[in-house]
Assembly symmetry: C2
DNA sequence: CAACATACGGAACCGCGTTCCGTTTACGCA
DNA sequence: TGCGTAAACGGAACGCGGTTCCGTATGTTG
């Protein structure tokens, strides 16, 4: 069996998660690693022994909430009057999550190699759920779409980026518009082709 | 009258613009300032004397193209079968512009103070055009919208962020979806409210 | 051709993520 | 209980990017 981690190590890992969570809400997800270390009362080296990269720390902090979001999907599908309604509400949940974490959405789309993990976590957990909801809505004929779950998720994520303190921009409204765009075209609807 | 700039200064400014443009296409808009200086065969100091900030250099490089995009708006409105078609094509133009400049869209939404200028240029030139097209489409009843030109532009810009080498994500498709979502709901369309 | 303002180059600075290494400390065993 | 060792720690140091500063070079003007 693998040897136990030392007690202080386990304690520090939890301290770090708490410190990071706290710093993220006050200074945003972009907060410097040193700030988190300071808040936790440890050196930066300690952070990097527990979390190989800044992105991994972020992942660890938000894992619970991502899981919760993922689990809400099937539940909504049972409740909702229609599959499209469930999809819409689920996406609203997702948007709410992204929007309340300062800078999370922005960092999600950074193509920096070290953020692959973050991107990865979101995809791994949420993609199947999104796919399920999307399929259901397609099955009921509520959606006309050629869209893939991945594309939808990324699109929504992108729309939520950089919302900080711009009262002229309401990500929710745009996302709703996008989701509306997914709905089946009514007969007589003449979609104007683009060039 | 203000004294003439020195001849070498004017020459260098042009050299810098060319060098920057060239580096941007090969290394993306995120290319380090030093790379641009090297390509131009000047020191970094020279860049900063001509362009107070990295963002200002980017602005200068793309000003022409932004202008061209702005001017295309009214033209499309004259041509197009409908106002919504014109809007759709204009946005397609905008998307094409963003998507071909590696990382431009991403940098556009950075809330970093020094990128205000970039954001500003885009807004100043494109907002009126977008507003005009939007108004026209509202006037013809093709659009049901509560959306502001600003919000639309930002939404589109956001959708275009981080497109680099992700063949699973097609910004154009999502933007089209968004624009479709703007269209007037047909009678009998039961929009499912979100929570 | 001198004298001066203008422009230049690039070393230096700061903040950030990350790495490295000498020191400290928990834990198992005598 | 004391000791040896591996695990864990702290924080200085590194690389990189934007920006600033200042001594040097050069176009311009009389």
């Amino acid at each position: 069996m693998p040897p136990q981690k030392r007690a202080d190590a386990r304690r520090n890992e939890q301290t770090l998660l708490d410190a990071a969570a706290s710093v993220f809400v006050t200074s945003g997800v972009d907060a410097p690693v040193r700030d988190i270390a300071a808040q936790a009362g440890v050196g930066v080296g300690t952070i990097y022994r527990h979390f190989p990269t800044r992105a991994d720390l972020i992942v660890a902090v938000y894992r619970h909430q991502v899981d919760a979001c993922a689990e809400a999907g099937p539940a909504l599908l049972k409740e909702g009057p229609t599959a499209h309604a469930a999809l819409s509400r689920w996406i609203d949940l997702f948007v709410g999550f992204l929007v309340t974490k300062h800078g999370l959405a922005a960092v999600l789309q950074s193509d920096n190699a070290s953020f692959r993990n973050l991107h990865g976590l979101f995809l791994e957990r949420l993609l199947p759920v999104c796919a399920q909801l999307l399929d259901a809505a397609v099955a009921t004929g509520e959606i006309r779409t050629e869209i893939s779950p991945y594309e939808l998720l990324r699109g929504v994520g992108n729309l939520c980026a950089g919302v900080e303190g711009d009262e002229r921009y309401d990500a929710r409204r745009l996302v709703k518009l996008l989701v509306t765009g997914l709905r089946v075209a009514q007969p007589g609807d003449d979609v104007t082709p683009v060039a």
